[in-house]
């Protein structure tokens, strides 16, 4: 029991007295809105007051503990943020590789401490810029990468052995990671010295983000290949970033984000153990996570704390991991794009700052803060700078990094953390009963749960039951124009010219041989990574590699559930 019996009795007596007074006051001065509307943004009911009684079932050692110790509720790092702040990692990519490389150098100069790559849609989906499917998309939502030549321009002047780079890439993750490995090799940096992350989380693509290529089963196989390759040869690389961000953006609740993300993580752990025969402690310490930080401040903090505790329990008790580093959950956070508004866009700075603060109090290891203009276009240099400065102000001015997990022991935070953990486990067990996450996805279960939540939220916005300033309250007719970044159509034409030049100069026989070897590896179930590295070194394109996967494993089409 967390509190002594006497204290709980005292609390109970005083609470009843307080409740009597509340009844009297609201009889005269009713609350501003009815009981059912005092909820989180995810619709979790919140009580007017939390007391010691809400924490009475907790066990200090097992449920709270200390930083760097099981259950990691209070964070992974023994020294908290005193040794090192979270990594300031702004997600960026636009136009061609040269333009993005310039943005990266600007961000590093301004004090960013890690890189994060946004690719354009053709790259994300494994198509070359000249594919008919790619028309009109080149460089629009990120950087266009077709071959290793583009990639070398992207990382020009970036010290790959010093800066860690995250790449948001999923179906073609093997191809892009192969390019990173090849680029390091060409710069004379051994693979065991490079560090970074590939998102490489296909389960959440089927659930939410819909960057799709092959069916779930072979998609998971390719991911297990990267885990195995990383474990053996690239030990500082996070081979999966198990992501809740996109699940949340697609309209899930915080609990759904928590549950589906962690259950995805469990699916990968099970597959690598089963398919590759690796011991859980060989690879689990390199698994990483990625969460959304939405606008409901305490809900987000509780979610992140609960995530660490659930993962620690799952790894220790469910998968029998023995290394404490297998128990810890390291995660990156991005503030919520879907919480921002195109209307009165400068308000987005305030939203982002609040969400970033929640991520810090939730103990994130790495953070992207959205720019105020990202609801409208790619961020301008000025907007990105404000977003980066938001993190620097939090870290160095506000004092929030002075002490570890400052909200621990709050009756409310601990009760909410417990509640969210419990609801997440309920989902996890339900998915277990369905036969795991791949089976649940095939049934459409997580997809439809998210659709329910998204539709309900929109109805609540329309009814004014949930508020978005500038959308359904304090609406202003006055338009605040902001500078608008646009990608010129020339970028597409020039990128296609570059790609054609590579195709003319490369040894096409060698490329064909590499792709045939990759195809054979796929058919035999071998690890594809060595073949991918060879192929990209010979200037095979992203699409050429992905076409091999499509041919061998088949193509997956969005079933269009709603």
């Amino acid at each position: 029991m967390y509190f002594a019996k006497e204290l709980l009795e005292q609390s109970s007596t005083l609470r009843k007295k307080w409740e009597d007074e509340v009844r009297k006051v609201i009889a005269k001065n009713p609350d501003q809105k009815p009981e059912r509307l005092w909820t989180t943004v995810s619709d979790l009911p919140i009580k007017r007051l939390y007391t010691p009684e809400d924490m009475q079932d907790m066990d200090f050692a097992n449920d709270i503990g200390y930083p760097g110790q099981f259950p990691f509720l209070r964070g992974n790092q023994v020294t908290g943020y005193r040794g090192k702040y979270w990594t300031f990692r702004m997600f960026s990519g636009m136009g061609d590789a040269r333009t993005t490389n310039q943005r990266w150098h600007l961000l590093l100069k301004e004090g960013q401490t890690g890189l994060s790559t946004a690719f354009d849609f053709p790259t994300l989906m494994g198509y070359d810029t000249d594919s008919p499917k790619a028309r009109g998309e080149c460089g629009k939502c990120g950087v266009a990468i077709d071959t290793l030549e583009d990639f070398l321009v992207l990382v020009d002047g970036i010290p790959l052995d010093k800066v860690t780079t995250s790449m948001t890439i999923n179906p073609p993750a093997t191809a892009l990671w192969a390019m990173y490995c090849a680029a390091a090799e060409l710069k004379g940096i051994p693979l065991d010295k490079i560090g970074g992350t590939i998102q490489n989380d296909m389960l959440k693509e089927f659930i939410a983000q819909k960057t799709l290529m092959c069916p779930p089963e072979p998609s998971v196989k390719l991911i297990s290949d990267t885990v195995e390759f990383g474990t053996k040869y690239v030990p500082r690389w996070n081979t999966i970033s198990i992501s809740g961000y996109h699940i949340r953006e697609a309209g899930s609740t915080a609990v759904q984000e928590l549950a589906f993300t962690l259950r995805d993580g469990m699916e990968y752990v099970e597959d690598v153990m089963k398919r590759k025969g690796l011991d859980v402690d060989d690879f689990a310490p390199r698994l990483s996570f990625f969460f959304n930080s939405h606008i409901d401040f305490f809900e987000e903090i509780a979610k992140m704390r609960a995530a660490r505790r659930i993962w620690a329990k799952a790894m220790r008790d469910r998968y029998k991991a023995k290394d404490p580093r297998s128990w810890w959950m390291r995660f990156h956070t991005q503030t919520a794009g879907c919480s921002l508004t195109a209307q009165q866009p400068y308000n987005n700075v305030v939203r982002t700052a609040t969400e970033a603060l929640a991520a810090v109090l939730g103990g994130t290891q790495s953070l992207h803060t959205n720019s105020l203009d990202e609801v409208l276009c790619l961020p301008s240099d000025h907007a990105v700078q404000i977003a980066l400065r938001t993190q620097q102000i939090l870290a160095e001015e506000t004092g929030v990094a002075n002490t570890i997990d400052p909200l621990a022991g709050s009756y409310f935070i601990e009760a909410l953390t417990n509640e969210m953990e419990q609801q997440a486990w309920d989902y996890i067990h339900k998915i277990d009963e369905m036969g795991g996450m791949v089976a649940a996805i095939e049934k459409g279960f997580p997809q439809l749960e998210i659709s329910d939540a998204a539709y309900k939220f929109q109805q609540q916005i329309d009814a004014g039951e949930k508020i978005m300033i500038g959308i359904n309250k304090y609406v202003s007719e006055k338009v605040e124009p902001i500078p608008f970044v646009e990608i010129d159509d020339r970028v597409e034409i020039e990128q296609i010219e570059r790609l054609n030049a590579v195709r003319r100069k490369r040894d096409n026989k060698a490329v064909k041989k590499c792709l045939d070897d990759l195809k054979n590896a796929c058919k035999k179930g071998e690890n594809v990574m060595p073949y991918c590295i060879e192929a990209v070194k010979n200037l095979a394109s992203v699409q050429e590699i992905c076409d091999v996967y499509r041919e061998v494993y088949g193509e997956y089409r969005d079933p269009g559930l709603y």
Partner: protein, 134 residues
């Protein structure tokens, strides 16, 4: 004779996977009493136009958040016109900058709904502007 229900298609052209708006609208149209066809993500303009004709819809709602709407929306409209289905109303939504509205109107997109539009306002517009084709 009872009036035929409106048949509407919600479609995601291009490579964009941001389908939250499309999914919410598909449900909203269903609840409004329309017959709804949702294509799912990653449809080419050719696939969308062919499906719209085959399904005999009265309206196609296109959703795009990737910035490729200037190519994709007019492409769908053009294909419909070429196939003799110029009476299928085409509307669009997503992240569409104000400065692109006129270009899209000029290319046959009848209305554009951007973030902040209520479900009610969209259904009202459809009820007033889209009639069952014969």
């Amino acid at each position: 004779m009872a009036k035929r229900k409106l048949r509407v298609m919600v479609a995601k052209p291009g490579l964009d996977g941001h389908d939250r708006g499309a999914r919410v609208l598909a449900r909203c149209f269903r609840d409004a009493g329309y017959e709804v066809i949702y294509t799912g993500c990653h449809q080419t303009p050719e696939q969308i136009a062919a499906a719209a004709i085959q399904e005999d819809v009265d309206m196609v709602g296109l959703s795009c958040l990737s910035g490729a709407h200037r190519y994709l929306f007019p492409a769908v409209k053009k294909l419909l016109v070429e196939k003799g289905a110029d009476d299928i109303v085409v509307v669009g939504g997503g992240i569409i900058p104000d400065q692109d509205f006129q270009y899209l109107y000029d290319n046959g997109i009848k209305e554009i709904f951007t973030p902040g539009a209520t479900l009610e306002s969209i259904v009202k517009w459809v009820n007033e502007n889209v009639k069952p084709r014969n």
